[in-house]
């Protein structure tokens, strides 16, 4: 499962963050710092970017995983891991900004008529030691990830592949046999953590000084502190502009922005909206907002009262004031949602009208459902992600206006996702980027592993299955639209917004993609970055 899910910086990151959670003080002080900059205001850096300049070293600060960090790309879990893996390794494909799979190490892919056998042709790419990347390397990598005795994150994504029956047709051609037709198979090739490592690379020793095929080659690595890499001139996609790139670890958001302001790094990943606001339009740093990086919403469990009544679900859709939620819970750093996942992604049903608040209709629906005398619902939340607790509080106020009493229950951050998967009726949720197809297969089918809305409908499963057996793209798009219309009308996901992912760079840094949601191909893609 869990294709391209992003974790929030660290599996337990927010718990760490709460240690210094007098965020107000930090934010206020940083705002002061922003106002008190020594130089006057000028044009914000970036913009046209101009012609790339070769050379220089860029230092990038990420929240990290401490001494446990490894360069084994199959163990990728945090943003820092993903960014490091991307510098050193490649996947066969990666997701573009609309979450459609783009060829990377794979030059092209070709399905058979029944969509259950895919032939993937590799590029002429080289490992850092000059040897070619081969079909055997690909099969080894996927077999390692799928090893039943291990728990690699990408394992579930590769589940559709019958690896015993898949084979290397020649040096650069792999034939994948699938267990069933799968029109969206390229998504598997782009799955989070599905990196290609060298045939035979398996234990920790092989990843101590990893030999990858990515744009940068390994120089030195100290877990929890820094990874230094240098340009790989033989990179198939053109050598990077930078001579060197150093990933440094700074777990506190305040430390990352301070290091950037103090000239100790040139790129800071994952900043708070308040920090971004303090520096927006200033000349000391350049704020880059990666739109559409995280879905924000509530899950309603559709198999139990009161949400087993679709009228109640619809009433809740109508209660939400989405703008207020985005402004309050995300400090305005985001856009409103329409109860559907993946705004702007491939197959997104953008023609479904935006749902608006309608308290009168909500009250009528609740009355019809037998809740005329009022309804009390417990809403689970926890400080696991930015704005979770705030969203719950705001929604409580909004629901009160429709006569619904919401009791907010703040749960333990470390076990929140496990706790809310099966218990409770209503809970705050979020999701990182992934294709709409993955969102459906992981969360909305009868046998989906993380089906938190308990959406189990044979006919819906059938639509999904049909889409995966449909080669014709327009027909497939129509099937996705049918699924989304159904979800929009009576699904269990109340999607109220999409959060920006905020990064900041020094004014002289160029070539940072501004339209790439977190974890997509162009996100943290330092081979395209240069120093002006």
């Amino acid at each position: 499962m869990d294709d391209t899910t992003i974790t929030t910086g660290h599996p337990g990151g927010p718990a760490r963050r709460t240690v210094l959670a007098a965020g107000g003080v930090t934010a206020a002080a940083l705002a002061l710092a922003a106002c008190g900059g020594p130089e006057g205001k000028g044009a914000a850096g970036g913009g046209g970017d101009g012609k790339p300049r070769r050379g220089g070293k860029l230092r990038a600060a990420f929240a990290g995983g401490g001494a446990n960090e490894t360069l084994d790309p199959h163990l990728t879990n945090l943003f820092a891991d993903a960014a490091r893996a991307k510098a050193l390794f490649d996947k066969l494909a990666d997701f573009g900004s609309d979450m459609s799979a783009r060829p990377r190490l794979a030059e092209r892919w070709e399905p058979n008529k029944t969509l259950d056998r895919w032939t993937v042709t590799l590029r002429e790419a080289k490992w850092h030691d000059g040897k070619p990347v081969t079909a055997e390397d690909v099969l080894h990598s996927y077999r390692r990830i799928a090893d039943p005795d291990r728990a690699f994150r990408a394992k579930a994504s590769l589940e559709p592949i019958d690896l015993d029956d898949s084979r290397a047709r020649d040096e650069r051609t792999v034939e994948f046999r699938l267990k069933r037709p799968y029109a969206e198979f390229p998504n598997v090739l782009a799955a989070f953590g599905a990196y290609i490592v060298r045939a035979g690379a398996d234990d920790a020793g092989d990843f101590g000084e990893p030999v990858g095929s990515g744009p940068f080659r390994h120089v030195s690595f100290t877990p929890g502190r820094s990874l230094l890499v240098k340009r790989f001139d033989g990179y198939w996609d053109g050598a990077p502009h930078l001579d060197e790139l150093e990933f440094t670890v700074a777990d506190e958001e305040s430390a990352r922005i301070n290091a950037l302001l103090g000239g100790q790094v040139e790129y800071a990943h994952e900043l708070n909206p308040t920090t971004a606001r303090a520096h927006d339009g200033g000349d000391r740093v350049r704020i880059v907002r990666l739109r559409n990086s995280a879905m924000q919403g509530f899950v309603m469990k559709t198999d139990r009262a009161p949400f087993d009544d679709r009228r109640v679900r619809e009433a809740f859709f109508l209660i939400a004031d989405r703008r207020e939620l985005v402004d309050g819970a995300l400090s305005g750093a985001g856009e409103i949602g329409n109860d559907l996942f993946g705004k702007g992604y491939r197959y997104y049903a953008g023609n479904i009208p935006q749902r608006k608040r309608d308290l009168e209709r909500a009250r009528r629906l609740l009355r019809e459902a037998g809740h005329g005398d009022g309804l009390t619902v417990t809403l689970d939340t926890s400080p696991v992600a930015t704005g979770f607790v705030e969203a719950a509080e705001i929604f409580r106020e909004q629901a009160a206006e429709a006569g619904v009493t919401i009791e907010v229950r703040v749960g333990n951050a470390d076990t929140y996702w496990s706790d809310t998967l099966d218990s409770g009726v209503l809970a705050c949720t979020r999701s990182g980027t992934m294709p709409i197809e993955s969102h459906i297969s992981q969360r909305l089918l009868t046998d989906s592993p993380t089906n938190a809305t308990k959406w189990r409908h044979k006919d819906f499963d059938e639509l999904y299955r049909q889409a995966q057996s449909t080669a014709e793209e327009s027909e497939r798009t129509a099937l996705y639209e049918r699924m989304q219309r159904r979800l929009h009308t009576e699904g269990g996901f109340l999607v109220w917004g999409f959060a920006d992912w905020i990064v900041a760079t020094a004014p002289g840094v160029r070539g940072v993609a501004e339209d790439a949601p977190a974890n997509t191909l162009d996100w943290a893609r330092f081979d395209r970055v240069w120093l002006a």
């Binding site: 760490r16 930090t26 940083l30 502190r225 700074a250 777990d251 290091a259 996702w417």
Partner: protein, 317 residues
């Protein structure tokens, strides 16, 4: 002398008992933490099958008693176990974080004693005098500021506005000594509160001592005022301050967690935070045991010193 020896013996036995208590408590408390490494690692995608698989791989499905027995037996041999996440020995984690933390704590203690004693003695020269009023106001004020707020404030002023000092230690790794400027702000933050509390105790002790009959007697003998202050009054005034210093060491172990996070110093505090976040229990336990042992040892040491300075005090802590 036998009196001293039996006191010492009692104190050491108490120390050993405290240590055993720490070991049991650490295990019980970490065991009581909600969620385990498997759940933490699965994050926002808690596929039950995967969580179970991770749990098996980590050996979390074995009985509690078995795990405690194994762990406690290992401790006796100096073996703290291996990390759940990486499989590397916990001692490696401690060794990696040890240097920066000891450097921070050592520098802080080395500066704390002269600064705090100096301020305390200075303030006590004339109770209610100008020096006393200034020092008392400032120490009380600074004491009230939590260290993270102070850290942010100092960083903004000295690193971001004035540009005199680096804002964080990002990128310096363990070569902190090679970049002493990096250490200034963290040590200042760590020093701030203990300096205030210790200097106030010294001040109070000095005022008492300087008003006591033995210093009056010394004055009558014509002993110089400075000699009375430093060699007669100070040792007596220092006894409560030594106890406070011992408590400061405990406090430092907590303070470094905040300071290391703020300034990105890869010490034991950072190791602890990362381990807690990842529910890497053996690492958390190893650190807690080491912190506990340090606390017990420091308190035994402080009792010994206090006992020598002012022999009437019994076994404390």
């Amino acid at each position: 002398m036998t009196d001293r020896r039996s006191w010492l013996l009692r104190r050491l036995v108490l120390g050993v008992a405290q240590t055993a208590g720490v070991v049991v408590l650490v295990f019980a408390l970490t065991e009581a933490l909600p969620g385990d490494a498997a759940v933490a690692l699965a994050g926002d995608a808690p596929d039950p099958e995967r969580v179970e698989r991770i749990r098996e791989v980590m050996g979390l499905d074995r009985p509690v008693a078995e795990r405690f027995g194994e762990w406690a037996a290992g401790l006796v041999r100096g073996d703290l176990g291996v990390s759940l996440v990486s499989g590397r020995p916990v001692t490696e984690y401690l060794a990696a974080g040890f240097g920066p933390t000891v450097l921070l704590a050592g520098l802080t203690m080395a500066l704390l004693v002269p600064v705090a004693v100096g301020l305390g003695v200075l303030a006590a020269r004339r109770e209610g005098g100008r020096a006393d009023r200034v020092i008392s106001t400032v120490t009380l004020g600074v004491y009230a500021v939590p260290e993270f707020a102070l850290g942010v404030l100092l960083t903004v002023v000295f690193a971001l506005w004035l540009g005199w000092l680096p804002p964080t230690a990002v990128g310096y790794g363990s070569g902190l000594l090679g970049h002493p400027a990096v250490l200034v702000l963290p040590v200042l933050v760590l020093l701030a509160r203990p300096v205030c509390s210790v200097s106030r105790l010294v001040r109070a002790g000095m005022i008492d001592a300087m008003a006591s009959s033995y210093t009056a007697q010394a004055r009558r003998y014509g002993v110089a005022e400075s000699r009375i202050r430093w060699t007669h009054a100070l040792p007596n005034a220092a006894a409560p301050a030594v106890q406070q210093l011992a408590r400061t060491v405990d406090w430092l172990l907590g303070g470094v967690v905040v300071v290391e996070a703020l300034f990105v110093i890869p010490g034991l505090g950072t190791v602890l935070m990362d381990a807690v976040a990842a529910r890497d229990i053996p690492v958390v336990q190893g650190l807690a045991v080491v912190f506990g042992l340090v606390t017990v040892a420091v308190n035994v040491g402080a009792d010994l010193v206090t006992h020598d300075l002012a022999p009437r005090t019994g076994v404390s802590a």
